[in-house]
């Protein structure tokens, strides 16, 4: 029972983090057509900024999380204006640009703070015990924050004017422009939101696990897996895809060992894609 509950919590925490990271990635892909390979590096930088404020400068950890989110959000605006806008519509050049950003960010962190081990202190330390079952408070809070953010983002896209405009741009950019939507402003908002979400995920994961200049590489692969599984262009599908990938990663190691779990996990995704080549919720790309 203990194992089952811990595994369920683990699956939910992992899923919410994957979703937070992948949503930013999916937003940029849907709205701007940018395959942002720098997304994992942005996730990593978000974690390090939070660490600098919380540990090096001694600020309150929640305040550090907020500052990290705001800084990375502003960085997202800058990224859109300087790195993506000049190459709007040219996927190959933006890919090269995002790879360059990865190198710059990873190397900068590597040189400035080094590769020595760091971990953010727990946002909520302690263990919650219920009979024989013990759960990490930190993981529960992380899942809760992830859930609240996802709910907020879904409401934003469904209810807010800017969210509706994002949806319009992602579905039919030319039509959106004809309706008077400022596509660059919407792209900047999407980029800011994507980077901010990645920063939140990086900071929370940096507390549960550890920080390293290369921690984003794995998350980027997961984000790509998840977006492909969900279906390119489907922001809502990322939620379902995240739950599937997170659950696979959290549950499979219980039954299989080592590298086999990864092979089986990818195998499941491949089978799902064979059944639905456009992804679970993908639309036809013309």
């Amino acid at each position: 029972m203990e194992t089952v509950i811990n595994t369920i919590i683990g699956a939910l925490v992992l899923s919410s983090m994957y979703i937070l990271v992948a949503l930013g990635f999916a937003l940029l892909l849907s709205i701007m057509g940018v395959l942002n390979f720098a997304h994992g590096a942005i996730y990593m930088v978000g974690g390090y900024i939070c660490y600098q404020f919380a540990v090096e400068f001694g600020l309150n950890q929640w305040l550090s999380l907020l500052l990290s989110t705001l800084i990375m959000g502003a960085f997202g605006v800058l990224l859109e204006r300087v790195c993506f806008r000049p190459f709007y519509g040219d996927m190959y050049r933006t890919i090269v640009m995002t790879i360059a950003i990865v190198l710059v960010l990873e190397t900068t962190v590597n040189v400035l703070v080094g590769v020595h081990i760091r971990s953010l202190p727990a946002f909520v330390p302690g263990i919650i015990k219920a009979g024989a079952i013990s759960l990490s408070a930190e993981r529960l809070v992380t899942f809760f924050i992830g859930g609240v953010l996802l709910l907020g983002l879904t409401l934003f896209i469904k209810k807010a004017k800017a969210g509706q405009q994002m949806l319009a741009v992602s579905q039919e950019p030319e039509g959106a422009v004809l309706q008077g939507i400022d596509i660059f402003r919407i792209s900047a908002v999407a980029c800011a939101m994507g980077c901010a979400l990645a920063a939140v995920a990086g900071s929370l994961m940096g507390a549960i696990f550890e920080l390293s200049p290369f921690m984003g590489d794995y998350m980027l692969v997961k984000a790509i897996q998840l977006v492909i599984l969900s279906g390119i262009g489907s922001i809502g599908g990322v939620l379902a895809g995240g739950l599937i990938v997170g659950s696979i990663d959290a549950v499979l190691p219980l039954f299989a060992s080592g590298a086999v779990t990864q092979a089986v996990g990818l195998g499941i995704i491949i089978v799902l894609l064979l059944i639905r080549p456009r992804g679970l919720f993908g639309r036809e790309v013309t």
Binding site: E2, T3, I117, S119, P121, A132, F209, E210, T261, Q262
Partner: protein
């Protein structure tokens, strides 16, 4: 006609400059060669991951190795057949990958023509480096091994183990564990899925059972890119062990496993060789950092050998810390230099023959017998004493030295 004359003058001037420069540089080189005749350089290659997987620890190894070079050189270098040599360390980044390791080894062996190499740490990297150094007959002092024959064994005759590997370090930990916790009777082995499990698993199972510890089930394995260790630890704890024996892995995953085990309510001792307590504390956090035991030096402890006492303040002065992997890097170079000095030769073949016939060798940690013939099929292991440290209530402490002679 005038143009022809001008061209001739220009040609003569150019030739004068060229030959003048050549003669001058020859003179300069000749002078410096003459000046350098007294002391020569002995190039030793160091292969470490300065970027990518494992670079967190291996940059510390780099610091330790450079300190060893400076320390040896400050003491006058080494003398081979009356000729003094200064150690010249040539560092190459393996980038934490197998292909990076091969590229780095190729650079050292074929571009820089080194005959002696120190490194690496991770199994796939050790194996990759061996594909370059062994055919080239370059003598290698490996910093680690996980007991896979492709890393270290009869097929790698030019590889020596300068530092304690998985077997030596964890055998020392098991020896300490059964002494300190007589109530502990069962364990689960947790090993990364890096190809070592079929070799390491049985060796460590025998080592545990020899000490009265029952190993429950097959090893639980994990991959290097595991993010969440909850299912791995849940699987191990479902067998209800008294202790967890974590074999290998860097501080990041090991710290994460300790944290996960404590979050799951496990309070028994957890051991892991070569993953020092100060690093584990940073990853696992203070709340989870208790009842953990590792191999590693606590430089501030009075129970340290003279060499460790001597270099600890040097590390602190230079880097602001004296961490376990610093000592690792230092010892890797130190042992190799001692072997070269003992052989009184710069020929890898002669050093190899001399080293494998030595009964013991000086290490940073004291005199170390040579062993490994039965366990690895090759008597190339420097079996130095192993320091055990504990992490209790977020406090790191040296607890004991354990002698390990691997048969």
């Amino acid at each position: 006609m005038r143009a022809k004359k001008s061209l001739m003058v220009l040609g003569i001037i150019s030739l004068t400059i060229i030959f003048g420069t050549i003669s001058f540089s020859t003179l300069v080189t000749g002078t410096s060669s003459a000046a350098a005749a007294d002391t020569k350089n002995l190039d030793i290659g160091l292969l470490v991951a300065l970027s990518g997987f494992g670079s967190g620890a291996e940059t510390l190894i780099d610091q330790g190795a450079k300190t060893a070079m400076e320390s040896i050189n400050e003491a006058g270098g080494i003398t081979i057949n009356g000729q003094p040599y200064m150690i010249n360390l040539i560092v190459e980044d393996t980038k934490g990958s197998a292909e990076g390791s091969v590229a780095a080894a190729n650079k050292l062996v074929y571009d820089r023509k080194v005959k002696f190499v120190v490194g690496t740490v991770v199994p796939y990297s050790i194996e990759a480096v061996g594909t370059v150094t062994e055919p080239a007959k370059v003598l290698r002092s490996s910093l680690y091994n996980c007991a896979t024959p492709s890393e270290y064994g009869p097929k790698t005759p030019y590889t020596f183990m300068g530092n304690d590997g998985t077997v030596e370090g964890n055998t020392a930990l098991l020896t300490y564990l059964v002494e300190a916790f007589p109530e502990v009777k069962t364990t689960v082995l947790v090993i990364p899925d890096d190809g070592s499990i079929p070799h390491l698993g049985p060796i460590m199972k025998r080592a545990a059972e020899k000490r009265g510890l029952k190993v429950l089930g097959e090893p639980v394995s994990w991959t290097h890119n595991t993010v969440d260790f909850t299912p791995i630890i849940a699987k191990a704890l479902a067998r209800k062990p008294d202790t967890l024996t974590l074999l290998n892995g860097w501080p990041a995953p090991v710290g994460a496993m300790l944290k996960t085990a404590r979050e799951a309510g496990f309070t028994g001792p957890v051991t892991c060789g070569h993953n020092p307590c100060e690093d584990i504390l940073k990853v696992a956090g203070a709340a989870a950092s208790t009842n953990y035991f590792a191999t590693g030096i606590v430089g501030s402890s009075p129970d340290m050998p003279p060499m460790v006492k001597k270099i600890t303040p040097i590390f602190v002065k230079k880097f602001g810390h004296a961490l376990y992997y610093n000592y690792w890097g230092f010892n890797g170079i130190y042992v190799l230099v001692k072997a070269i000095e003992a052989a009184q030769s710069l020929e890898p073949d002669k050093v190899k023959d001399s080293w494998e016939n030595m009964k013991s060798i000086d290490s940073l940690y004291g005199r170390a017998p040579m062993g490994g013939a039965k366990t690895y099929g090759i008597k190339h292991t420097v079996c130095h004493p192993v320091a055990i440290q504990s992490l209790m209530n977020a406090k790191v402490k040296h607890v004991k030295w354990v002698d390990v002679l691997v048969p």
